[in-house]
Amino acid sequence: MRYLPHTEKDRKAMLEAIGASTVEDMFCDVPAQALLDEPVDLPSFVGEMEVERTFADFAAKNLSPSSAPSFLGAGAYRHHVPATVDYLVQRGEFLTAYTPYQPEVSQGTLQYLYEFQTQVALMTGMEVANASMYDGATATAEAVMMAVRATRRHRAVLAGGLHPHYFDVTKTSAHSLNIDLVHPDSDPTRPADPASVIDLIDEQTACVVVQSPDMFGRVIDLRPIAEAAHARGALVVAVTTEVVSLGLLEAPGNQGADIVAAEGQSLGNALSYGGPYVGLFATTSKLVRQMPGRVTGETQDVEGERGWVLTLSTREQHIRREKATSNICTNAGLCALAFTIHASLLGEEGLSRLARINHANACKLADMLIGIDGVELMNDSFFNEFTVKLSKPAEQVVEALAERGILGGVPITRLLPERDDLANFLLVTVTETNSDADMDALVLALEEIL
């Protein structure tokens, strides 16, 4: 077996050194009835070529978004990732390191995490950020729990435009901790109404959670909601599923957000059928000791040289155990690195251009779709995705598009199956990766199907 260095001679010598006559002697503490005499019933070992073939067979049964016009989004976005990113994250010193518990031999990891924290803080307009969460949905759930700790209140208002996965994950966590959630339905046929959220905030509310752009693609002004929340002593959790939007849209930190929970997959990370992604988590300096997750801080070594360490660990499970701010341990370090390298390549101008191209392409497709009989654009505002109402059920249309080799968007009912009233609504996403030919193909196919 190519990964195992020991020869039979080595094993024999080592067993002798241990004083074991057989391998089984080493497992003497295992109850005899639980010890297997032979390997379990699974295939035997194979070489690298066979492994590659096996996965090529899996891949061949999928329609690859790289080879089909794809308009899928809803929290996971196809962007062009520069080749540099994937080359650098595969450097073994990054790829095969553990959590940086020994800072003297982990300055590489610690410094990139510090750069990541800074980039996230800058993009979101917040004072501090942590070293990543699992994804945007779990970051949102953690944000609600943090708000509950910080305010000692047990009620949260989640705006209707929150991504349903984010809501469901928050609800699952909230259930365990007896946190009441208030979550009004959202009507994508009308502009988002801040009053629908503001009216629900009361003196027992720990936080209000608002996503912008929301799940229908609408750009939300957080300021009136933040003003109302703060007046009642509640915190504002701003959610973003598409971090590229921050290159064009106002930062949540400039709109009164106390916590930002976002999905960072768009920068540097492959779609990978839903994971691993990278949750972004940013907040204010005032709340930092309530923040979940790992965080890197600047310090000096004994010679006075600047360096970095994991810090504020007294919030964390390995010190505080049941009193920790979160149970999180492993996070998304390597995905954070990919994010950081992509953001470094983009820089100020690159991020701004990327965001503008996304919006311009989305505007272009929206205008093309409006011209089709049976397609109605719902959004007044959007970044790179918008909702259209079709003359036929969206799931049916999406299947028909798939038969033509087009990944045409996400039916709203894929995310909200109980909303029969939205059966004809389709969320369409456009990024810099969509060519004019892609858009023409979608328009032509929709004209045929509808």
């Binding site: 020991h6 080493m26 503490d29 980039q119 002004d221 849209l249 492993t330 996070n331």
Partner: protein, 517 residues
Amino acid sequence: MADMSQGRSNVPVGGSQATAQKTISGSKGLDFAEPLIFEMGEDGRTGVDLPDVSVSDDRLGGMRRKDAVGLPGLSEPQVVRHYTRLSQKNYGIDSGFYPLGSCTMKHNPRINEKVARMKGLGDLHPLQPTSTAQGALELIDTLATWIKTLCGMPAVAMSPAAGAHGELCGMMAIKAALEDRGEADVRKRVLVPESAHGTNPATAAACGFTVDSIPATDRGRVDFDAFKAKLGPDVAGIMLTNPNTCGLFENEVIDIADAIHDAGGYFYCDGANFNAIVGRVRPGDLGIDCMHLNLHKTFSTPHGGGGPGAGPVVLSEALAPFAPVPYVVHDADGFKMVEHKADSDAKPFGRLKGNHGQMGVFIRALAFMISHGSDGLRQASTDAVLNANYLRVKLQDVMSVSFDGMCMHEVLFDDHFLKDTGVTTLDFAKAMIDEGFHPMTMYFPLVVHGALLMEPTESESKETLDLYIETLRGLNERAQSGDAQFFKDAPVLTPRRRLDETAAARKPVLRWTPPAE
């Protein structure tokens, strides 16, 4: 000091003074001085070529960003060099022996990276129609089959993103089962051995349970009598790591399972140490109700400086109905994904993360399993146990092994052997860094004083282990000789020497800020 004279001198040429020698550039040979990316940029530089498109405000809802983000501008070669230089300040399993106990730092095969990036796998969108992702669902189902077979369990929840997330999944399943029985309001107490990972009590608390600690015996196992005495009608279950964090198999595990079940509770097993028993013991045969697997430990997906991981949770018949959405099902028409509670004919407790789980990690873990096969996985766990026991016997005369007898895939020492030397576990670990080894886990588990927990994994050759043993024996000799200062000064050969963690926590500086104009 005979042991210290072999190989290269462990101080730079010119003696220890050389470490303080300043260069003009700040770099020291291959140890490069590297600023923060924010200290390198210039306006007008970019590492990507994108057209400068202008857009109107008409469809931005009045929310166009007014201020600059503040990202620095760099060219592609600058970015490549910056992150290459940072990588050189890191120690990975590719660099050398990484016996970090409880973390299973084994070789990360590159074929796994290659297949995870294949077109048709790495680029799949989570919400494309399942009719266009049958291969992806089949892959998840295949991995689930391997996991269930290796664990001897009937079901597995695939979506948890890491070990601690898997713990959350398991404990939420237990809570849901108790709610289903109408006992959730009564059964609020979870028993957790004092040797447990910190995530266990943190997870129990995150699920609204109270934590009751079980003491260990002087043999490093759960004190069975103390455990039995704690059982009662308010107990929800036990969270037990097996093999445990002392590197020992809990030999009374089946009795523990029977007792917790008789008391009406459930058995959560922390599977962080599954690498010791893969292919030799099926946790299902031990009477567990649920257990998470750290795919990034046992099945070798890269840790990446702290993630990503994946923490699928195997479930017993009793807990399977409560598995979270989404999950894959299979019928004559192919594979389907049950994504919502309302679509399930079982009783899912909810959803744990966005989308379907850590697919990129699944692919790598399955590639690792398929590569090894049933026979190779059994050999791998055996070699891991062999390596740990080899370290134990080769070091036990000079270092203090905490518990007698065979260990599993990791071996625990305490700091008794350093008594009266003035050298602490931390100092000893830092001296190992200068010797080119990553230290073992320090000060965990908490049940022994100054713990040094070593996990060699099956990836290490006998030659590597022998050099490590020789090094530790030499360091011990030096410690016993009264040269404590040598250890207090360590490390001296690293890009940075000991860092002031107290100052970092007292006055946190968590991000770069632009210098005041």
